[in-house]
């Protein structure tokens, strides 16, 4: 394979990852890293570096739209970014300590967990009243969003900000360690622990991911793990794919079917990653 062909292949795969990722509401990293490492033989440290850049690109692109529509809660995002950036820093340093094998093992475990979360989200969940929280009041975290289906502004209240902070630290650490956005960990933390509406959780998670990723990207850059030859085409491809997916494909595909297929793929890749970490 020549460098030119390699660039083209990486560009196409990244577009595919961005497209699928935008439809499923996850970043492309979870798909991209296995393909780059298992399929194209790229060193996992460079794959992680390329992925973290693509995470920033998709997050910033999507967040531009969410902020305009006021779907993302900027105060909740800012507050939780305290924990995600601290976590991302820890994770990026941890990745230098545990080495390639450890990264494979953690990656496999996170993928398997993400698959289970997506499987669970396919079912409905019960609605209980949101308990009052003094800190959430003090920080003014509550908000409202425009619901297109209902045709009115829907107010919501936020609870357990400290629990959210703790979970976000974990999500940030995983993100820094693996070079993924870890939206699959952030959304449940806001949705289940802090009780934000799912749409707001998804939008806010997207908004936050860029900052979390920038924190670990700084460490990766200084360490020389961001290789322009790999990260360049990945960055362009994922952004184009995500843009195409959110603009032109959203709503035209059957989400349940897609999710089901994706869960199967995730579980298979998790198995491959765990095996590679175990054997090597």
């Amino acid at each position: 394979m020549t460098p030119f062909l390699f660039t083209l292949v990486v560009l196409c795969i990244s577009m595919g990852a961005g497209l699928v990722g935008s439809l499923l509401g996850i970043g492309g990293g979870l798909i991209l890293i296995p393909v780059l490492t298992l399929g194209l033989g790229v060193d996992i440290r460079y794959a992680v570096g390329a992925s973290i850049i693509s995470v920033i690109a998709t997050s910033s692109g999507a967040a531009a739209a969410y902020v305009r529509e006021r779907m993302a809660n900027m105060r909740v995002a800012m507050f939780l970014e305290l924990a995600t950036t601290a976590g991302a820093l820890s994770g990026a340093f941890l990745s230098g300590l545990v080495g390639g094998r450890g990264v494979y093992l953690v990656f496999g475990a996170v993928m398997a967990y993400s698959a289970l979360v997506m499987l669970k989200r396919m079912g409905a969940r019960e609605e209980a009243p949101v308990p009052a929280d003094a800190l959430a009041d003090r920080l003014g975290l509550h908000g409202s969003y425009w619901d297109e289906a209902l045709g009115r502004e829907v107010p919501y209240r936020v609870t357990r900000p400290v629990a959210g902070l703790g979970l976000m630290y974990v999500a940030g650490t995983v993100s820094g360690l693996l070079g993924i956005g870890s939206g699959a960990l952030k959304v449940p933390a806001m949705d289940l622990a802090m009780r934000l509406p799912l749409k707001v959780s998804t939008a806010t998670s997207n908004f936050m991911i860029g900052v979390t990723a920038a924190a670990s990207a700084g460490v990766y850059f200084a360490r020389g793990q961001i290789d322009p030859f790999i990260a360049g085409p990945v960055c362009v491809g994922v952004t184009l794919g995500a843009w195409l997916g959110s603009r032109h494909l959203m709503g035209r595909v059957n989400n349940t079917w897609l999710r089901g297929l994706f869960v199967v793929v995730l579980l298979w890749v998790a198995w491959e990653m765990l095996r590679k970490g175990w054997v090597s």
Binding site: P3, A63, V67, M78, L82, L89, P228
Partner: protein, 150 residues
Amino acid sequence: MSGEREPVSREESSTVAAVQEEAEAVALVPELLISDLLRYGVLLSLSLVTLGTLVTFLRHPDYLVSSEALQRLTAPHPVPHGLRDVVVGAMAARGQSFVMAGLLVMMAVPVMRVGLSLLIFRQQRDTVYVAITTAVLALLGLSFLLGAAE
């Protein structure tokens, strides 16, 4: 009489409309500013990366035919990881340095977003959030400094 009154009421209604528009514009500004920053930042970065990739292939025609070059490119090797290396490379019109500059712009976009939020919270005199935002900005700065010191 009615002819005299009409222009006044029209003027009144137009000032009311102007005030309403102004209030709406002021309320919208923070979200729009942040949204534009994100959008144009990403566009600038992608243009630099694309330009750099084109320059690379123009300057290294062997990349189109030789498969040995790929092994050199994907094997573990030193990558420019200081700001100075990137600037020097870009000055020498090295394609990969343009790509790297584009990637650095991408990394800077969220940091600038946090900086902009800080200005907005300060303008709103929201001391709690000024403190929170400053802490996040400090953590981001720390990541670049600590990474460089490693």
